[in-house]
């Protein structure tokens, strides 16, 4: 049996063990105080199996089924399907990330081409890069005065650095030989930029984009918890306020799966532009 098949079986086994442990841990506990008056117990709700609020795997499956069978229902501002929430989150991430790419890739290109610009901007980038994107939130809310645009700004500011740095690095480390070929062939600046530097730096640029997308997806959940109104992050927080842990766990799972799909998509893009030297 191939390693691949064996590891798949092992994965399934681990999942089964995990689910079994979860199931056992969340089984309703038998009440020890049996001496309570039945009437009183009924009144207090003690006759029903007691649960500590943590759903069993079966309950979670029920919740997931319910959510997934009608993902786009809309029953008021605080009760929308997971599909709608996801669409809002993905829309914000897409906008913020897209704007960041529009700024970071051309700017990174220029920085990569000019050692002067690289040296001049590097200190700023190094200081701005480690700032938690959420730290920008109050400033964004104060200046923009709109929570949705603020969350898009936060995505923008967190996506920009990896793309900027990777693009600059990729452009700066294009092999001299290829640039010399372009020079001896009298290829113009635009032609060299698009037909030599861009394809040469594309794998590094895509790496930056992949990292940025990963960070953006991490940040959107936190940002939406802060600004509220819509999105998966808000959904998680809202269900926590509803004390619906099975919805919270379901949402966590969805966030993970969507994040993985985004990463896979960028991985595929990266492979498409990667070349073997």
């Amino acid at each position: 049996m191939s390693v691949r098949a064996r590891s798949a079986i092992l994965s399934l086994l681990l999942l089964a063990v995990f689910l079994a442990a979860w199931h056992l841990a969340t089984l309703p506990r038998a009440e020890s105080g049996a001496s309570v008056d039945p009437e009183y117990a009924k009144l207090m709700g003690l006759d029903k199996p007691k649960s500590d609020g943590m759903p069993t795997p079966a309950q979670l499956a029920g919740t997931a089924w319910k959510q997934l069978s009608d993902p786009f229902y809309d029953a008021g501002s605080n009760d929308k399907g997971i599909g709608i929430q996801l669409a809002y989150s993905l829309g914000r991430v897409g906008l913020g990330f897209g704007l960041a790419a529009l700024v970071a890739i051309p700017l990174g290109f220029l920085i990569g081409l000019s050692p002067l610009a690289y040296g001049a901007l590097n200190p700023f980038i190094q200081v701005l890069k480690p700032i938690s994107p959420l730290a920008w939130m109050p400033l964004a809310l104060y200046t923009i005065k709109d929570s949705t645009i603020s969350s898009i700004f936060v995505i923008f500011i967190c996506s920009i650095w990896p793309m900027l740095i990777n693009t600059a690095h990729g452009v700066a480390s294009v092999r001299r030989d290829w640039l010399n070929v372009a020079k001896t062939l009298e290829a113009g600046t635009v032609r060299t930029a698009f037909q030599v530097i861009l394809p040469a730096a594309a794998p590094t640029i895509l790496t930056g984009m992949r990292i940025s997308m990963g960070i953006a997806w991490l940040v959107i959940v936190a940002a939406e918890m802060l600004v509220g109104n819509l999105g998966v992050g808000y959904f998680v927080w809202n269900e926590w306020n509803n004390l619906s842990l099975s919805n919270v766990i379901f949402a966590i799972g969805v966030i993970g799966v969507v994040g993985m799909l985004l990463d896979l998509a960028f991985g595929a893009l990266q492979r498409a532009v990667t070349y073997v030297e």
Binding site: W178, N180, V181, T184, L185, V196, A202, V273
Partner: protein
């Protein structure tokens, strides 16, 4: 005597002002259709000279004149074959050559570019590999693509920077033969760097010998006294072959260093490199075209 096709006069290169020059006062000339090799140890500035000829580097002093015009900056008139082939790995063989062709003739449509590429792919015997990426090619094939790319723009002159350095002996031999036949067909003017004495004897009409760097210079211009049409298979049977070869090896092993060390004394009387024709005894010298155009021939051995 009309001016030579390529004239290099007093070329000097310093990495920083005031520093010792890597090489200085390098002067030589190439006739149209001539194949010239330059040999010297690493660090003597061979590649820098080639880069200056290509327009990729600038001299600190001196001038390069090609076809009556001063060389400043790269030009499609000079095709370069790079040491590490320098193919773009994301392009197929056809597109790599096509990039060059499109640079030369920007107005050509796709069909015309492709047809032109095909001609040069066939020339270097890579027919059938047009759509492969460089990573799918062997070292020899890659270098062939590099040669095809340089020839495809039909430059006035070809600059080769140790094009066969990384190849095994068999592949190298095969491509050397191809290069010789292509050059003979197209009457290409070629300036080539090599480390390989045999390669220089096989390919070159004249061989420039450089002393060691820093302050390297061209110490000798060796005229290849073997017949112009040479073949790898029997060149070593020619009576002059070993005399010529020994002269070159002897230069590389001993004199390149001695000349560098003792250059202060010689500087006065050796402003210009001497021209030698090893292999021929005095009475054997036939006034060929090489001998005619080079004044003040000095004889060794």
């Amino acid at each position: 005597m009309s001016a030579a096709f390529l004239q290099v006069r007093g070329l000097t290169r310093r990495w920083s002002p005031g520093a010792k020059p890597v090489f200085e006062n390098v002067s030589f000339a190439l006739e149209r259709g001539e194949f010239v090799c330059i040999i010297g140890h690493s660090g003597c500035g061979k590649t820098t000279i080639l880069n200056i000829l290509a327009g990729l580097d600038e001299a600190s002093g001196g001038e390069v004149i090609m076809d009556g015009r001063e060389v400043s900056g790269p030009s499609l008139d000079r095709g370069v074959v790079f040491q590490g082939h320098a193919l773009m790995p994301w392009l197929t063989v056809r597109r790599n050559i096509g990039f060059a062709v499109k640079s030369r003739w920007p107005d050509w449509n796709r069909e015309k570019v492709d047809a032109h590429c095909q001609k040069y792919i066939d020339l270097v015997r890579l027919t059938g590999n047009e759509d492969k990426k460089p990573s799918a090619l062997s070292g020899g094939m890659k270098q062939r693509v590099g040669i095809a790319r340089a020839f495809a723009i039909q430059p006035k002159m070809l600059l080769l920077d140790e094009p066969f350095g990384a190849l095994d002996a068999l592949t190298r031999g095969a491509i050397q033969d191809e290069l010789t036949s292509i050059c003979a067909e197209t009457h290409q003017t070629v300036f080539m760097i090599t480390h390989d004495v045999d390669e220089a004897i096989l390919l070159a009409d004249r061989i420039l010998l450089m002393t060691n760097g820093p302050q390297a210079r061209i110490a000798e211009i060796v005229v290849n006294t073997l017949p112009r049409v040479r073949s790898r298979h029997d060149i070593h049977h020619h009576p002059h072959y070993y005399r010529l070869r020994n002269h070159l090896v002897d230069f590389l092993v001993h004199r390149s260093k001695l000349l560098q060390e003792g250059r202060e004394d010689e500087a006065a009387n050796e402003r210009l490199p001497r021209v030698v024709m090893p292999g021929l005894a005095d009475h054997e010298i036939v006034p060929g075209d090489a001998a005619e155009r080079l004044p003040a021939l000095k004889q060794v051995k």
